[in-house]
Each structure stands twice: as C-alpha cells, then as structure tokens.
Amino acid sequence: MSPRRSPIGRREFVFGSLAALGGAAVPACGCQGAAPPTPPTTTKRPRPTTTTRRPTTTTRPTTTTIVPPTPPSPGVRTIGEQYLAAHPGTTAAQLEATLPAGVNRVSGADAQLGQAAQAIADDFAENRTDRLDGWWFSLTEVRICALGVLRAG
C-alpha cells in the first residue's frame, strides 16, 4: 500500500509557507508566545513557490494571513483528547518528533492521517497499537489526533 498523498489545501499552504519562514515571520507578527513546533532536522521544509512572495523587510505578513491548520474532525479530535487524557503531559513537540516521514508537519490532523497511511498500516502489522475507549488504534494515528488537538487549542 503506497502512502496516500492528500492535496494540501490553500489555507494550509499559506500557513505552511509562512511557517517555513520560521523566525522571520513569527517575530514580525508578534506571536513569540506561541512558539511553532520545531521540525526534525532531517525533514525538508516546504519551499515557497512563485505564488508566494518571500517576505522582505518591506513586506511584512499580517496576522490576517496566518491561517491555522484545518481543525480536526469531531471524531479525530475526541480520539486525540482521549490519547492526551491517557498520556498526560504529552507535548506537541514530543508528538511532532514521532511524525513519520512524508507527513507534512503543518497540515491539519485529518490531512496528516491521510499522508501517514503506510506508517499506520506498518504500526498494525508490527503491533504498535494503543487501546482508547476499547478501540484498537495505530500509535501513529492516535498521536496525530493528539497533535491536532494540541495545535487546535
């Protein structure tokens, strides 16, 4: 089974492009209190395309252009909340560090689940599972759900 690659929506694309700019964008919008997740060093950051103009000292993004990831769907959110309740103290950074390769770091949880299909299947095949409210899930999928909850606030 090949990984399912979900198209990244425009809203996520805009957010991802800005997030890829890292420190250049965040101080400019005054969001230092909400530090973005630190991507693993092995992950290639999304590159802006010609449709997005790289900010310069004269083109500063405004808060109205920063769009958060699509909120998790209701079921995904609840599963994420159940995971966090079962694993108190879990941080977004910890969860991000477990995201499998090929998953866009800044996508919404639902999109990430689609991108992680192979890793999820591998989890099941190798017994990396977790039981939440009686349901048996892949560790990857419940961690993605939990990350979606933490990021959605």
Binding site: A111, L113, I120, A121, T129, R131, G134, W136, E141
Partner: protein, 517 residues
C-alpha cells in the same frame, strides 16, 4: 434384556455407534430416558444445577441444564444449529495452555472419519478448504488477510437429526430402541473390570436390567460422568474414577463479543457466504447436491500465530449491521479517523469470538444432593474458565483489530461486557439505533464468558490413566468392556462446534467394536 452391544443414550453419538453396528449384523440394544420426541417430563430427568446459579449466553442467562441437554431420540441435537467443522492437525498436539493436553490419536487416525461423520449428519462430504469452496461457489475471491489470519469454512444445515433417523432406528431388525428407560447405575463383576448389567428405571416405578458383552455410554458430557459417578457398587468413587478425573475438565467454547468497523470490501467478502442458520441462506456448493443449506467463513488465527503466541484456538464470526448513520458517537469516532485516511467504512459488525478454553480440573461435573423422579442424583455443573484466558482473549481481539488495520479494512473494538443494545443478533437487517457502549472495562477485569452450549472433555481421552478416563479406543481405563462415545472423550475442546468430532469418534468406536472377536 440383552444383546451384543448395549448403548446408553440415543443422541448423535449413540445413534452413530448403534446404527453402523446394527447394520453390520450386531444385536444392539439402545436405551434412552426420553421418548421418540422431546418431552418436558423427560427433560426433567436430565435437569441439574449450575454452580453460581446460572450460565450466560449471548441471549441472556439461564439456570436450567436443559439449555445444554435434551432428552429423547436425538438428544443434544435438539439444540444443535446444524453446524459442522472438522478439527485441524494442530488441535491434536500438546499445547502449552492446557494442564493436560495432546490427543492419543494421530491425525491419520482421526481425519478419515470426518467425511463419514459429515455424511452421517447429512451434510455430505466437502473438502473443507475455504478457498476451494469460495471458488467452486462462484463467490468473490478472498482479500489478502495477512499472514496472521486465515479463514475457516463452516457448514450448516438446519434440520432435525432425530427425524432423519427415527424410522430407521425404530424399524431396524437388529436394533432395539427402549425409550423412557433411565439407566441408574452400572453393575460390575467382582473384580470390577467388567460391566455386567445396567440397572434401568422408569418413571412408572418399574425397573429391569439390561446387559451385553460390550457397553457404550453415549449420554453426553454431563450424562456420561453422571452415570459413571453413580455406579459405585464395586468402585466407591465411581467407575473409571480411580484417578479422580471423571467429570473434571468440563470444557465449553467460551464466547466474547467485539465489534468491528469493516470496509465495503471486507463486508462483502464475509457477508457473501454468511449463511447464518436463521437466515436459511442457501449456498450452492456447485456440485448439484442440495445438501449444504448455508456456509460461513469465520476468521481464524493461523496455526503459526497460535503457536507463536501460545494461544488456544479462536474463531471470529462476523455479522453486520447496515445503517452506520444511526450509530452513536462512540462508534462514529473511528469512522472519522478512517475517513481521513481515505477508508470509507461500510459496516459495523458484531464479531463473536469463540475460543478453546484452557482445561481446568476444577471445571467439573459432580453429583448433587437432589434426586430426579427415578431416584438418581442430579448433576451439578461448575463451569470455570481460567483467569488467564481473559487477557488472552483481549489480546486476540487486539490482534484481529491490528490485522484489520494493517490491511486497511477496519478497526476493532474490545467490547466485552460493554454493549448496551436491544438487538436481535440473528436479525440484523434492521439495526437498532440504541446500540451504545457502557463504561470502558479496564484490562484485568474478568470477562463474563458466554457459553456455546458445548460439553466436552469430562471423560477425556488419554493414554495415561492419570490424565484421562478413556484410552485411544474410547475404552474406560481399567475396564474390559465399557466404552464412551461422544464429545466427552475429546482430549481438549479444540476447535469450534464439536458435533462432527463427536460423531467421528463414535463412528470410529463402532468400527472398532465391530472388529472385536
């Protein structure tokens, strides 16, 4: 009253011993406490009690042993759903999860009796190969189940076994059926090595004795130990009970329910051949014989998986609901999760996991203080499933779920004891929206096991008299002419429905008796 062979009990096993011997020319006396039909009055003669007061089934709890047994011609087949399936070679080998295990039979000694037993039970013969059956029946080829699972073909034909054989038995020139004849005890010679006669009582207050050079008990997994334990004239603890094993290792096939979300593909695969008895679904076997009325494919763990994990047998039987939109949030959450992964779930299914229970010597049939209408001590059934089985079965559900997930076909829910629903399990075309889950059961919480209404191993077969009541020929250890037929001689509970095995062993016993000088 006498003959060449005395058979006590006219259920499936008793008929499977008596008829071939009579056909071969032996004079057979067949005794049964019931009548030609099942009767409430004679059912009371097999009544007893259950330790704890009741047993749980998928349909509720019950307190009467007549839910397990039935009197009269046909015996327990009055409860039989007409389902058969054979054992596997794996089942005969010693297993780590039993106190005592390993059959004294080889596969080569047992397997040839499967087809005769299938014919005796009016199912005809079949290859028992799931893939071949699917191919021959023109069904959808199986999806890849992954290496840890396989499928078990289960055949069923709902009919009355007693009705099939009543005329043959009554009219057989070499067979004398004596009904309403309750055997109270067996008398032995002074050495205690031979049964000399059976003491028979009727509810009318009369009694007589019956005798034959060979005596076969075929009273079921409760009735056989009951009669052996009651026969104390020369054996104070009962015949065959020198090692205190008669009635012990009472085994059933404990059931537990899980739920599964299944993809369209998975549902169509299983539902295509889901010939549950109550639906009277006919699957044409492709050979023109209108014999098999239904067939089902059960999920089964591969032998290698069982060996690797040290697990007993287990099979999962899936039935599906239709309207997912009516489900409550606890069932819809995983649907959202899987929809995000591009997997559209088509069905919520009840996954009934039926297991082989580890043998437990404290799970047993004994005699109680109460007596029946002819003065016999009533049996007491103390069914126990070892505590270790709970976690084993929870792990099984987890693995079933893992395999569904690995194949992208669904997710599984460990729902034992959590289901709150008002749903006719055998009429799932109209699912009730009231299905919901109770509070989560924490790991380690004992499961309330549901009975499969089976009764096995209470006179188990073993080479060593210290481990079993009968030998590989089904002869009671220490006795020269006393034999036992039916599922009570099974060394372990093994697979799923034991009817075919019990009849196969009975036919094998008949052939052995026929070969005696």
């Amino acid at each position: 009253m006498s003959g060449d062979v005395l058979v006590v009990g006219a259920g499936p096993a008793g008929m499977a011993v008596a008829l071939p011997l009579a056909d071969a020319g032996a004079s057979v006396v067949l005794l049964d406490g019931g009548g030609l039909e099942r009767e409430p009055a004679t059912d009371d003669l097999i009544e007893g009690s259950i330790v704890g007061g009741s047993m749980e089934s998928l349909f509720g709890s019950f307190t009467s042993l007549t839910n397990l047994n039935a009197s009269g011609l046909g015996g327990t087949s009055h409860h039989w759903a007409g389902i058969i399936q054979p054992l596997h070679p794996h089942d005969l080998a010693p297993q780590p999860y039993h106190d005592v295990s390993g059959w004294p039979l080889t596969w080569a000694e047992l397997q040839p009796w499967h087809d005769p037993a299938s014919r005796f039970l009016h199912h005809g013969t079949d290859s028992w190969d799931a893939d071949e059956f699917v191919s021959r029946s023109g069904l959808t080829p199986p999806p890849d189940l992954g290496p840890r699972l396989t499928e078990q073909l289960v055949l069923n034909r709902y009919y009355g076994l007693a009705g099939e054989y009543r005329a043959t038995i009554v009219g057989h020139p070499n067979l004398t059926l004596v009904h309403h004849a309750n055997v109270a005890s067996l008398a032995c010679n002074a050495a205690g090595s031979q049964v000399t006669s059976a003491e028979v009582r009727t509810t009318a207050g009369t009694s007589f004795s019956a005798s034959a050079p060979q005596v076969v008990l075929a009273c079921g997994g409760i009735g056989n130990p009951r009669l052996l334990l009651a026969s104390t004239d020369t054996h104070p603890a009962g015949i065959g009970n020198d090692a205190d094993l008669v009635g012990r290792y009472f085994a059933d096939h404990p059931k537990v329910q899980g739920w599964m979300l299944a993809s369209t593909e998975a549902r169509s695969r299983w539902e295509a051949v889901d010939g549950r008895v109550s639906k009277h679904q006919t699957v044409d076997r492709g050979d023109g014989e209108d014999v098999v009325r239904g067939a089902a494919l059960h999920l089964r763990f591969a032998d290698a998986t069982l060996a690797e994990r040290g697990w007993p047998n287990a099979q999962a039987d899936c039935s599906f609901t239709g309207d997912l939109a009516a489900l409550r949030p606890e069932f819809r959450r995983p649907m959202d999760l899987m929809a995000a992964q591009g997997q559209q779930m088509a069905s919520l299914g009840i996954m009934t996991v039926t297991t082989e229970q580890p043998l437990d010597p404290d799970s047993r049939v004994t005699l109680g203080g109460a007596t029946d209408a002819v003065g016999r001590a009533r049996p007491v059934v103390d069914w126990r499933v070892p505590a270790s089985h709970t976690e084993t079965v929870r792990e099984m559900v987890a693995l079933l779920g893992a395999e569904l997930g690995a194949q992208g076909k669904g997710r599984a829910l460990d729902a034992a004891d959590r289901l709150i629903f008002d749903l006719d399990l055998f009429n799932l075309e109209h699912p009730e929206p009231a299905i919901s889950l109770g509070p989560e059961i924490q790991p380690g919480t004992p499961i309330r096991w549901r009975t499969s209404y089976h009764q096995m191993c209470t006179t188990r077969m073993a080479t060593d008299p210290a481990e079993g009541v009968v030998d590989a020929d089904c002869k009671v250890h220490g006795m020269d002419n006393l034999w036992v037929a039916g599922t009570s001689v099974m060394s372990t509970g093994a697979g799923f429905v034991p009817t075919l095995t019990g009849v196969a062993l009975a036919l094998r016993l008949a052939a052995h008796l026929d070969s005696l000088p």
